[in-house]
Amino acid sequence: MALPKYTEPHYRIWHYIYLTICGAVFFFLIAPLFVIFPLSFNAEEFLSFSEGMKRLDPDAFSLRWYKDMIYGTKNPWGLAAKNSFIIAIFATIGSVILGTVAALGLSSRHMPYKGLIMAVLISPMIVPLIISGVAIFFFMAKAGLAATHTGIVLAHIILGTPFVVITVTATLSGFDHSVTRAAASLGSDPVNTFMKITLPLILPGVISGGLFAFVTSFDEVVVVLFLAGLENTTIPIQMWTGLREQLSPTILAVATCLIILSTLILVTAELLRRRSERLRGINQ
């Protein structure tokens, strides 16, 4: 955004002020994440930079908290990580299947009461989480599913499907329905048409919806706080307990791992979004 040569001085000044403001906001957004990295390698038990770290003394850095995260005594993180992945994977599968099928129905032009049904389907995204948490807890308690993995998976399917419905309906809006008619005219049955024609074309939307559902489940803490027993502890629950009780550097080691995971998810989601846009012909 270079300014043209003829720009008057006071606009020039204004332009630099604007760039400075933008820089400050970007810094505000991203800097907090980068504080965690160096501190997770702290050799000491404090959550601030030690004198040694400021001098970049190699002895001030260590993998101590990563070792504690993996091998520590009475260590909750192993179980939490296992639970988190199991719950998130099953919740994602459930959300993707239910959400994609529903999106196919919703984007059909024959769908009756489209607005009302769409409102119900995306309501878990609109209603504040704390209210969803209370409502889902009441249901799970009645159904005898509180403090079970099944209960938490079902709860996360509820919270994850709106994202799948939205992304897949968006992908389907640019979908050329004549290709499915062509397949049908060539003798393919609806299931075969879906698997061979429709699904490959809407796959980027399905996967990015699935990623949203996965992250929602993996990061969800409000509903799990109501539902989980000791056996169902997840990474967010452990972090929540840790942050409330004592802020140990082990949490920072876990946080660093989570940031790496979210970077991977971000890269995947971005690549998929671009591919989907290219297929829909929105590429600039």
Binding site: P32, P124, F138, I158, M239, L243, L266
Partner: protein, 417 residues
């Protein structure tokens, strides 16, 4: 033309109109069947439970069922003076049954919600009632504690007779039904919920304003920069967006603590003295700073997607017609971004109003919000009907905001990502 003679028939001999309608209906059913699994799943696991909350919030059968005989006997009581022996006898009968079932503790908790002071006198009554003689229960109960001889307490019991009650909603607004049946506010210094509602609105409002002020310039920059730079900067927005909420809250806890980096920096540039470091966490400041940073991407993304569609030639046209860049911006560019502003503000405000985790961790006592209170009653006091009532009050607030938004901006004008 008469429909009997000129009707168009399909090859099967069925009128075309009928055949088309049949096909249309078949398509409708097909589309609905696809949506049905998710729709019914959500109705059973989500929509009904919210209805259940509504029921729980007004349900007051518990006390009604614990003291059936007492309430029957009270029907003839005018509530002016102490009830007759008949009521005391019925109460004694109900109470003995409750003690047998070991449920008198629940009764005392419930009655204590209505009027403070029931806990101790019910405990005392349980102890003394073992040695009660038959007959003249009025005297015997009144001799247990002087509060049993106070008509106020009997009126409090009578107020719990109806099966349904709106008192939890009143309590959520720091009001109650007094002895004369009028709705009044609790004493000034006990109005904790009103303070919380106002604080929730205040924090949600200012977080929305801060997010808007910070997001507008960077969304504009992202939308006008060439792709290769904007993609790089977009990572600064998307990485926090995809990162765990707890990780981001943890980083703010590290930054804002008294020996933290922000305070170190302030001391370093001489803004504050080393022995006088300000408390930036466990108060409102903590909630403001952390919530603004966490919700900022939700404002940037809708703004960006709207700004991306605005052609730069519009601004140039405005300038070429003699407007200064500021006039061109204000008259041409800004109005075009309103759908994005609306969507972003709605999203951030609604997320902020129901926020729980971050205020609970960095907010301290003065930075907690209404959702913290709901969670507190769900997990600690186990007053689920009160938690439901407050949850529904919050939900109706959110729905009102959607309704207003739809009136003013139109929900179809929302653009998300």
């Amino acid at each position: 033309m008469s429909s009997e003679t000129k009707q168009i028939l399909t090859t099967d001999g069925i009128p075309l109109e009928v055949s088309l309608k049949k096909a249309e209906r078949k398509n409708k059913v097909k589309a609905f069947l696809l949506v049905a699994p998710l729709l019914f799943f959500l109705i059973i696991t989500y929509v009904f439970p919210i209805g259940d909350m509504l029921f729980r919030s007004v349900d007051d059968k518990m006390v009604t069922q614990m003291l059936p005989k007492t309430f029957k006997a009270m029907e003839n009581w005018d509530g002016q003076e102490l009830p007759e022996e008949e009521v005391f006898a019925a109460f004694h009968e109900d109470f003995i049954k409750l003690v047998e079932d070991k449920r008198e503790g629940k009764l005392s908790t419930q009655l204590n919600y209505t009027k403070n002071g029931f806990k101790s006198i019910i405990k005392k009554l349980r102890r003394k009632s073992k040695s009660f003689e038959e007959g003249n229960y009025k005297e015997q109960i009144m001799s247990v504690h002087k509060r049993w001889a106070d008509v106020e307490y009997w009126r409090a019991i009578q107020r719990r007779a109806p099966e349904f009650t709106g008192q939890k909603y009143l309590k959520g607004m720091d009001m109650y039904v007094n002895e004369e049946g009028k709705i009044v506010s609790v004493e000034e210094d006990r109005r904790i919920h009103r303070v919380l509602w106002l604080r929730t609105l205040e924090i949600a409002f200012f977080v929305t304003v801060f997010c808007f002020l910070m997001a507008y310039p960077i969304a504009h920059l992202l939308a006008t920069l060439p792709m290769k730079y904007s993609n790089l900067l977009m990572i600064c927005v998307l990485l926090p967006f995809w990162t765990s909420l707890l990780v981001r809250t943890a980083s703010w806890m590290i930054l804002l603590q008294q020996q933290g980096i922000v305070n170190d920096f302030f001391v370093g540039i001489g803004l504050v003295a080393d022995d006088n470091r300000p408390e930036m966490m466990y108060n409102k400041t903590g909630s403001y700073v952390a919530m603004t940073q966490i919700l900022l991407p939700f404002m940037v993304l809708p703004l960006y997607s709207v700004m991306k569609t605005i052609s730069p030639s519009l601004m140039r046209a405005g300038k070429s017609l003699g407007g200064t860049p500021f006039v061109a911006f204000w008259k041409v560019y800004f109005p075009l971004t309103i759908p994005g502003i609306g969507a972003g503000c709605l999203l951030v405000f609604i997320l902020a109003i129901g926020y729980y985790i971050t205020p609970a961790l960095v907010g301290g006592a003065s930075g907690t919000l209404i959702s913290n209170q709901i969670a507190f009653h769900m997990k600690s006091t186990l007053d689920w009907s009160f938690a439901s009532a407050m949850g529904l009050m919050l939900l109706s607030g959110v729905l009102v905001i959607y309704w207003l938004y739809n009136k003013i901006v139109g929900i179809d004008n929302i653009k998300l990502g």
